[in-house]
């Protein structure tokens, strides 16, 4: 467990950049005393002082510098729409950094990172943190417009894009692309990292998990407390006792993909 020491902050939005029809990059002035955070940590934001939406919304930390906290926000429903609409100067009510586990640095220095959609956020944070590693990014989205190329800048040994409609890069999903790249020897390493839709990550583990010494994935689900208290954000894991549920907010967000009981994990 890596507890960053959470806090409660009123932070000011410093920049808002529209990246795609659905995504916005939100830069926030790093509050004084905001603890250090690592890839896989997240923050939880009260997007409205209203009962609609009621709960805080969790967002992965995409970057944390001495002066800035950066989030990638995709508009999904009411909460994310409110957040994505925040302008420079607006205040945000944040708790964080949250999360008990983070992406460990790759052994051997080379690794493959697979991101789907806004799963890019923790992956970029990791790439920025591990400047000396040899990292291959495989990144998929629905279409060219949703590939946020402008923020995939530095730090990767190679980058590979997949779109479901074939409008940019590989025509298909990130998992198929990754399989081709791995099988073709184009990308490699002993560690695999992933963040994205559940279906993507479980397919990745099923198809390629065994090819890597470790497959670490940062998971998402609906959360309430964000601190491990409510036991609402659990994921079934394999173990002696089954089912054994672990909380994504406090026991995660990062898990070994092979420890997750994917077949038991669904939303209903």
């Amino acid at each position: 467990m890596i507890d960053p020491g959470k806090g409660h902050f009123q932070a000011v939005v410093s920049r808002r950049e529209s990246l795609s029809p659905s995504c916005v990059l939100l830069s926030i002035e790093r509050p004084r005393d905001f603890p250090e955070a690592r890839p896989g940590h997240f923050v939880s934001i009260r997007v409205a002082h209203s009962i609609e939406p009621l709960l805080r919304r969790p967002y992965s930390i995409m970057d944390l510098t001495g002066s800035e906290l950066v989030l990638l926000v995709k508009v999904i429903g009411k909460g994310s729409a409110l957040l994505a609409g925040r302008e420079p100067g607006d205040e945000l009510d944040i708790i964080g950094p949250l999360g008990g586990t983070v992406f460990p640095e790759p052994e051997g220095g080379e690794a493959v990172m697979v991101a789907g959609g806004t799963g890019l956020a923790p992956v970029l944070f990791a790439a920025r943190a591990w400047r000396n590693a040899n990292l291959h990014l495989v990144y998929g989205a629905s279409c060219a417009e949703e590939i946020l190329e402008s923020i995939v800048r530095e730090g990767f040994a190679s980058t590979h894009f997949a779109t479901l409609d074939g409008s940019l890069g590989y025509h298909g999903d990130a998992v198929s692309l990754c399989a081709e790249l791995v099988n073709g020897g184009k990308v490699g390493g002993s560690y695999l990292y992933s963040c994205g839709p559940k279906g993507m990550v479980s397919a990745l583990e099923a198809g390629l998990g065994k090819r890597f010494t470790e497959h670490y994935t940062s998971l998402e689900t609906i959360m309430a407390c964000g601190v491990g208290a409510c036991r609402g954000c659990t994921v079934p894991t394999r173990g002696e006792k089954s089912p054994a549920y672990r909380s994504i907010c406090a026991d995660g967000t990062v898990f070994r993909a092979r420890e997750i009981a994917w077949e038991d994990w669904n939303d209903r």
């Binding site: 020491g5 959470k6 806090g7 409660h8 009260r46 009962i51 609609e52 939406p53 009621l54 709960l55 805080r56 708790i95 689900t221 609906i222 959360m223 309430a224 407390c225 964000g226 601190v227 491990g228 208290a229 409510c230 036991r231 609402g232 954000c233 659990t234 079934p236 006792k241 089912p243 054994a244 549920y245 406090a250 038991d264 669904n266 939303d267 209903r268």
Partner: protein, 292 residues
């Protein structure tokens, strides 16, 4: 400062009448970095059962308009680990604790009370009202006679602890449940647990939860909780812990005005964890709110 706002319940004494509700409060330590738990009355710890419970599979949380549905299903570490690890940690820190217990049947209930008896817990809340489990919980809690039997046994096995019965609002007459608890020797009742509800989602409109029905909490249910507290306090002499939808200092005051002896805060802590301390501060400044 308006002086002392401490409260007493049987052998238990608390700094003030502001508690975190069972469930949202976890085992008391999860919110430690965000809430000064020594400032508030205390925490009602997550309901424990005799044996550990994994909780419900599938989705457990779902937001509704002004409310939250949960189907956690009493996931907990079990009595042994709770009394060995969790409770002492809280007590060492000087945090006020009410231990929440739920039976999964009559036999294990005996065991659970035994474990509580062996512990240092000064106050226990018997959860007779969880909608998210098959056995025990609400099935017991909707029947005044069973409520009486469960409270009686707790009274007998734990003669020198404060015993609080937590009631469900999903009944025709919550007052009769409170009366049963009173006659059976409870020191207090807590009203209310979550309200039965469900939601559906997606293109195919399937139920959100595997068990379909879940428990509704949050601002949406505040009027229901106030009504329960008001009606109970008109008919029963027991102190009442008011809980349900409290999300502002004014809401807290309303519960006292409705007759509550103390309050518990659940869902609001998720989005406004500063609320319990703000309520304590308000009470310290103005004194405890008047009770009707």
């Amino acid at each position: 400062m308006s002086g002392n706002i401490a409260i007493e319940l049987g052998p238990a004494r608390f700094r003030n009448p502001v508690f975190l509700a069972s469930g949202p409060a976890g085992y008391g330590t999860e919110y430690e970095e965000l809430i000064d738990l020594e400032r508030i009355g205390g925490v009602v710890t997550k309901t424990i059962t005799l044996e550990p419970r994994a909780g419900n599979p599938g989705r457990r949380l779902w937001e509704t308009q002004g409310g939250l549905l949960n189907s956690v299903g009493l996931e907990n570490v079990g009595a042994e680990r709770f009394f060995k690890d969790k409770l002492p940690a809280l007590e060492d820190k000087g945090i006020g604790v009410i231990v929440s217990l739920a039976a999964e049947g009559w036999d294990d209930y005996e065991g659970l009370l035994g474990a509580a008896d062996d512990s240092s817990a000064a106050a226990v809340e018997i959860n007779l009202s969880c909608p998210n489990v098959e056995r025990g919980g609400m099935a017991v809690g909707t029947d005044p006679e069973l409520v009486a039997r469960y409270v009686e046994l707790a009274r007998k096995r734990l003669p020198d602890r404060a015993i609080i019965a937590k009631l469900t609002p999903n009944v025709t007459d919550i007052v009769s449940l409170a009366r049963s608890a009173e006659k059976a020797g409870a020191d207090a009742v807590t009203a209310i647990n979550t309200v039965l509800g469900m939601d559906l989602e997606g293109e195919d409109s399937r139920p959100v939860f595997r068990r379909v029905s879940a428990g509704l909490s949050g601002p949406a249910i505040l009027p229901v909780a106030l009504d329960a507290v008001w009606r109970i306090t008109r008919s029963v002499d027991l102190p009442v812990f008011g809980v349900g939808g409290i999300s502002s200092v004014d809401d807290a005051i309303k519960f006292f005005a409705a007759g509550a002896f103390a309050i518990q805060i659940g869902t609001a802590v998720f989005y406004d964890h500063t609320l319990p301390e703000r309520i304590v501060e308000a009470f310290e400044q103005r004194g405890l709110p008047a009770r009707n």
